[in-house]
């Protein structure tokens, strides 16, 4: 038996050095990955920074009271008015029309797919709905302007070529897949034992769906509605194409009107110098939009916590 030549084996210190090196590279990799995750936080900070800093310049020239109470929005005229309610009204009316379509339709489709349809129909219908949700909004805008508006004009002859109604209806169709898909997920997560309990009492499918499954999935349904609202409030191109872009303080969906989003598009289409008041208005409008969607998100999270699934 011969002794190994000691120099053939790696010395302890060598191995430790290798370990140390490996630890360092693991640390570096972790730091890189963390940096990537932090980009999302930076994005949020960037959004808030840009909107707030430009809005500060804006509010240095326009008082917040005027901004909230003025009934005209004419930022580019010599007699400039900055009443955001004009744009908010367009946003709210079009969103209301959209949700009046999307929430009932989406919920009905979700109940149908989750409680009535056989699995094969569901396997096909869900991806097709997702395709509908994936259609670019500019194409929906085209659809609203060139197909839906002429049809609506046959029903309401006085309807103008641009209207909140037409844009809102198409927006509603666009949002249906989001509401349907999320609601269906929530209802399918309701345990089968609850349904069996209801069926064992002699309920029909619809009765079970409405009185047991829907209440049990309520927080998920609420979340899907909130997402639908966010989509409607933030939707841009359908409105820019089909609702007209003139500011109009109205609560009538039959009229054309600008929304917060379509106003931003309109300004961006022009050639406003960086730093002018007109340029700053779009950031003030964007901040308003972000705050509105934020409110709905907070409401959604609150609803979710309050009605956490207790099955």
């Amino acid at each position: 038996m011969t002794a190994h030549n000691a120099s053939d084996l790696p010395r302890i210190s060598d191995r430790l050095a290798k370990n140390a090196l490996r630890n360092v590279s693991e640390r570096i990799i972790e730091a890189i990955l963390f940096a990537a995750a932090a980009v999302s936080v930076l994005t949020t900070i960037g959004i808030v920074y840009v909107l707030v800093s430009e809005s500060i310049h804006f509010f240095a020239q326009v008082s917040i009271v005027d901004f909230l109470t003025d009934t005209q929005w004419t930022p580019l005229f010599d007699d400039a008015h900055f009443g955001i309610m004009v744009l908010v009204s367009g946003t709210l009316v079009s969103s209301f029309v959209a949700l009046a379509v999307a929430i009932p339709m989406g919920t009905i489709i979700a109940i149908y797919l989750s409680e009535f349809a056989n699995p094969k129909v569901r396997e096909i219908a869900k991806p097709v709905l997702e395709l509908l949700g994936g259609i670019p909004t500019i194409v929906f805008g085209y659809f609203a302007l060139l197909i839906v508006t002429p049809v609506l004009q046959k029903i309401f002859p006085e309807l103008p070529g641009f209207s909140l109604l037409s844009a809102g209806l198409v927006m509603g169709i666009m949002i249906v897949p989001y509401v349907a898909s999320l609601s269906e997920d929530a209802m399918r997560a309701v345990p089968m034992s609850l349904r069996e309990g209801a069926f064992a009492m002699g309920s029909t499918r619809l009765y079970t769906a409405l009185h047991v499954v829907v209440p049990a999935a309520f927080s998920g349904l609420a979340a899907s509605y909130i997402l639908g609202i966010s989509r409607a409030v933030g939707e841009t191109m359908i409105l820019a194409v089909a609702a007209g872009m003139q500011p109009n303080l109205t609560w009538n969906p039959m009229e054309p009107a600008a929304t917060i989003t379509s106003y931003i598009v309109q300004v961006a289409l022009g050639d406003l110098p960086h730093g002018s008041i007109g340029y700053q208005t779009i950031f003030a409008a964007g901040l308003t939009l972000l705050l509105i969607t934020l409110c709905f998100n907070i409401l959604g999270q609150w609803l979710r916590r309050k009605f956490r699934e207790n099955y």
Binding site: S40, I47, I109, E130, I173, L206, Y207, T261, L269
Partner: protein
């Protein structure tokens, strides 16, 4: 109170079943409306745009004369912007998803990142346009370039890629990690050789869905001020331009247009001749988006069939 007689019970059941049937009919009707919209859209665009749907349409630049206008600069622009978006969003999204699933400790910072990603997904796309206008266009001085557009859309789809990555990673059972760690692999080696490859189909699905969303986005790109008349292509690397030889990355800083912008431009013109172009371009864009989404759905379907842990 008397218990119900058999007849009464049968009447109650009959009423309930009638309601079931009515609801079922309404449900099918609602689904059919969704389907009908897709058919109407595609059908209308094909019929209206048929006259322009030929090879010339793809090889000609935009023009003031509707019959000669094409989408060359638009589809090239869309592809280049998507290239930038993918190059930025995929590594960032996968790395972020990997960090959150495999590295992050349960602490405040992680929670902030997670809440933040959820909220970003609900931010309207036009707000990303404002972000890009303030940061990329002016603060960084990228101007109305392909780079600005690509990065903007990358930020927009980042939450989609991160969520898809996390879901794909979460579907990998813990024993795979333990198996790898047990033979002495480091955390990164486990990720590099096991987690990322196994999660790849799921990540790919998310990336495709994200890109399909990005390629149809119009609002943020208009917001950065990119609605201009573009009748040229970005410079190829190492070619001669009026300003001298183009470098490898010169095209990144080039002005551009993309498909949805071109459609918006054509729909907003008063001359109805341009509606034909809008329809034809809309059909091309729809075909791109539906193909990408279809691919993603197919991938997901295959994945569900093949993977059995």
């Amino acid at each position: 109170m008397q218990p119900l007689t058999t007849e009464q019970i049968r009447a109650v059941i009959a009423r309930g079943k009638a309601k079931d049937a009515i609801f079922q009919a309404v449900g099918i009707l609602c689904l059919a409306i969704g389907l009908l919209v897709i058919f109407l859209l595609v059908g209308d665009m094909v019929i209206r745009g048929a006259a322009r749907l030929n090879l010339d349409f793809f090889t000609q630049f935009a023009s003031r004369r509707a019959a000669q206008a094409g989408i060359l600069s638009a589809w090239v622009g869309s592809l280049l912007v998507m290239l930038v978006t993918a190059c930025a969003a995929v590594p960032l999204g996968v790395a972020a998803g990997l960090y959150l699933e495999e590295y992050a400790k349960r602490n405040l910072v992680t929670e902030i990142i997670e809440i933040n990603i959820t909220n970003l997904a609900a931010v309207p796309s036009i707000v990303y346009g404002l972000l890009a206008l303030g940061i990329f266009v002016y603060a960084f001085g990228f101007g109305q370039s392909i780079l600005t557009a690509g990065l903007t859309l990358a930020l927009l789809i980042l939450p989609i890629v991160i969520v898809a990555t996390r879901e794909a990673i979460r579907a990998i059972p813990g024993m795979i990690r333990e198996g790898s760690m047990a033979v002495g692999a480091t955390r990164w080696q486990t990720c590099r050789y096991h987690i990322i490859p196994y999660a790849m189909p799921g990540i790919l699905t998310g990336v495709i869905i994200g890109l399909a969303r990005a390629i149809g986005e119009t609002a943020p790109i208009i917001t950065i001020g990119a609605l201009t008349f573009i009748a040229f292509l970005p410079p190829l690397p190492f070619t001669e331009t009026t300003e001298g030889s183009a470098g490898l990355f010169e095209w990144l800083m080039s002005p551009f247009t993309v498909m949805p912008i071109q459609i918006f431009n054509w729909t907003s013109r008063p001359d109805p001749a341009f509606e034909v172009n809008a329809a034809a371009a809309g059909f091309v864009l729809m075909a791109m988006v539906l193909t990408m989404n279809g691919l993603a759905i197919w991938l997901r379907y295959r994945m569900r069939k093949n993977i059995k842990w």
